[in-house]
Homo-oligomer: 204 residues x 2
């Protein structure tokens, strides 16, 4: 079939006046702070600077806004973590940098704002299959990243060959997710490097 000649990327009607990703960034802020159920569509219209009609033009319903926000949150966070890991030289230093990033994320205003993965896991993973699938994927991705860094460390001799990378990574994921819980309550470890030093003991 021959496609009609469209100027690429110019859809038909009135063009959208707002940037979807910018709007989602504002939705992420609200969902992180309040969670899904406590966030009303009115909260979203306020934060996103859109009328409810406009939100429902762009998204099927409130849940679709949430899922899109969650996907974007995970995307941005994975980029941050990858960037933090890239900055260090040895695998052991990369691991230390990643753990330090988690501790920093749990502190202060950022920590109180909360993690959308932890929030979704706790609030929705039981009730919503699609959220559950995303949380499962996110947790196993985190676990795989940590296990991979441990294996790299074992290869470059910066981490003991005796430890089990997968089991150790599992425990480290608990530590990182738990950081977000205590951070939400304003009780993250005040001394980042002390906490990381202790967590690094898991490696031997």
């Amino acid at each position: 079939m021959v496609q009609p000649l469209h100027q690429v990327g110019r859809p038909r009607g009135r063009p959208r006046e707002f940037d979807v990703n910018e709007a989602l960034d504002k939705a992420i802020k609200v969902f992180r702070e309040q969670g899904y159920n406590a966030t009303s569509v009115e909260d979203l219209t306020g934060a996103m600077g859109l009328a409810s009609g406009s939100i429902y033009k762009a998204f099927k319903d409130k849940r679709a806004v949430f899922l899109a926000a969650l996907d974007r949150y995970m995307l941005l966070r994975n980029e941050q973590i990858a960037s933090v890991a890239r900055a260090a030289r040895t695998a052991r230093e990369r691991l230390r940098a990643v753990l330090g990033f988690y501790v920093e994320s749990a502190k202060g205003v950022e920590g109180r704002r909360g993690c959308m993965v932890v929030g979704s896991a706790v609030e929705l993973a039981i009730a919503d299959r699609e959220v559950a699938a995303r949380i499962t994927a996110a947790l196993s991705r985190n676990e795989a990243l940590l296990a991979d860094l441990i294996r790299q460390g074992q290869a470059d001799r910066s981490i003991s060959a005796k430890i089990d990378p997968d089991e150790t990574a599992r425990v480290m994921v608990c530590f990182t997710q738990g950081l977000r819980v205590v951070g939400r309550a304003g009780r993250a470890p005040p001394d980042t490097s002390a906490a990381v030093d202790i967590a690094m003991r898991l490696l031997a």
Copy 2:
């Protein structure tokens, strides 16, 4: 002033037909599974076997039911943990037993049902001062218990004197709370003793 002669413990009107603690146990189950905002008063009437009027006779409002359920949840849980700790001989074994109890709590149906402290911390700690106060108290109690066990272990030589009890306990609390997050998603460590072995490495 002279008090009138009441038969002790017999209040004036029609006596309550249900046991408040039994009703709260049923409310705890619902709140653990669904959280606060997703639980309707209808959910509570169904689970507690009471009409809404009866619930509002016994509690000021839905929030008061939640706070009472949270208090009872924390009470029962603290008793369980204290009992688990008492059962072991050396401080190191007590610590191992407590960590094992946390891992077991995060697995299977119990893990999916979730922890009311973690759920409340994530869903409500920012929005509700009284919930926040309870969560802060619960977390610092857990931290103090673990730090105390570490100090006991240092006294009886079963734990290295070199580690900092408070900082180490802080990291362990993150591990235990994180367990409940991954348990909620059905991703608790499958091998309890392996996970505990690794977590115990934090002690040296």
